[in-house]
């Protein structure tokens, strides 16, 4: 069992390989449907360790701003960093950060029902995505710079500034056409 990862130019949605264009549309829909759509930027974009990383950070901020502009009243887009992979003692503050060792705490606390990982090293993203998938009902999107993530419900591959900007364009394009799930009181929390 298991799923195949997409080839360049493709993505996967729930394990089914699709053309990338379809994944942009679906990801934008999921963001616009969610009560708390959230972007989780990881160290690879939080730190300006090269020029490309800084540009990706700008694109991430643009995507977040676009989301804020395009959602309806009652929806609360969030941008929560994953600055560190090591467990935090004595505990993390789920309002200001997410940690891959217990990402469910942040999901539950903020009632996040759709999230996107970007700039998180693959092995840590896999761990976090598995925990989220197993312990919450949050829809997970991976904007992966490598080959994609089988544990995300929707995964892009070869993430670039252009791809992040394109997703933002799709969010703008679908503005007002998607009905948000405002009635789902439980949202991301599964228990």
């Amino acid at each position: 069992m298991g799923i195949c990862l997409p080839n360049p130019g493709e993505a996967h949605i729930n394990g089914v390989i699709v053309p990338e264009e379809k994944a942009y549309e679906e990801a934008a829909k999921q963001f616009l449907m969610a009560k708390v759509p959230t972007i989780f930027p990881g160290p690879l974009v939080l730190w300006a360790w090269n020029e490309k990383a800084a540009k990706k950070a700008t694109a991430v901020r643009h995507l977040y701003n676009t989301l804020k502009e395009c959602v309806q009243p009652g929806q609360t887009p969030m941008l929560i960093p994953m600055p560190d992979y090591r467990p935090k003692y004595p505990k993390i503050n789920p309002e200001v950060e997410i940690n891959p060792n217990h990402p469910n705490l942040t999901i539950w606390h903020n009632k996040i029902d759709c999230c996107m990982f970007i700039g998180v090293h693959c092995h840590q993203a896999n761990l976090a995505l598995k925990i989220i998938r197993g312990g919450t009902s949050c829809y997970t999107i991976a904007m992966c710079a490598q080959a994609g993530h089988e544990d995300a419900m929707l995964s892009f591959r070869d993430a670039s500034v252009e791809k992040i900007m394109k997703l933002a364009e799709w969010v703008k394009k679908l503005k007002g056409t998607v009905k948000p799930r405002l009635t789902s009181a439980k949202s991301g929390a599964s228990n």
Partner: protein
Amino acid sequence: MSKERIKISEDLYDIMPSDYQDLVKSATYGKEDRGWKDIGNSKELIEQHSLCAGCPESMAFRYILASLPNPEDTVMVGSTGCTSLVFPMVAVHNIHSLFGNQNAIASGLKRALSVRFPGRTKDVVVLAGDGATVDIGLDMTLQAWFRQEKFTTICFDNELYANTGGQESGLMQKGFVAKMAPVGKLFDKVRLPEIARESGCHYVVQCTVSKPSLIEKVIKNAVMIAREIGPTYLQLYTPCILEIGKNSMEGLQEMRDSEKPTERFAYKEYISEPAKQLLAEMAAKDKEKKAAAKQLAAQGA
């Protein structure tokens, strides 16, 4: 890592937790004369930790991290024990090794770093408890010294296995009765500083962590000698106040009592001839620099 890279992406700066912002703004990476006096004036390289209140190990950690001469280009290797609870909160690259394996890991790491970064100084510092250094990992500890591996080994000596409830360790003092060693230790504390000297360490110090200035001095000496000459070893008494029946505020006094000239943690130091020469050269350069700075200040006035 280079300190030039320690920069948060401008567009995401506002969402970074404050501890990371503070590290970038006011930590002492790259400061040449960094030392324990920076504690309180700058962001420390240790965040909250989960050690017990008043634990001398936490003091030791703070002094060591404040004294490393080159933290942005240092990798620390830890092992199982109380120290492993602290490393997640340390803003210096670090690796957790298998219990006792720390000096083997550090050997490979140091060699790999010198191949990968031939033109750059990379320091490796092992920091482990007495169980990892003297009991479980003694083979790896000694072999690294025999091979003259160029890194510093620091042993936090609390004279027992504190993390697991107080079992007897090789560095426990003779006759000591611990919670999980009710008969009392039957043989003497292993004399690792002497063994280190005979095994080829160029700088060996045994002391407590009651004096931050002393810790700064020995850490700097140990790292610089390891960088240039060969292995160095520091054995620091960091008593486990819980396991010896003391209160939180009594750790410092316990160390002061144990470092008296007749006690088992009286200051002990061994410096090899090449290391002595290096320290003398360093002192001379330092003197020159200070004199030049003084002259410059006088000219300015």
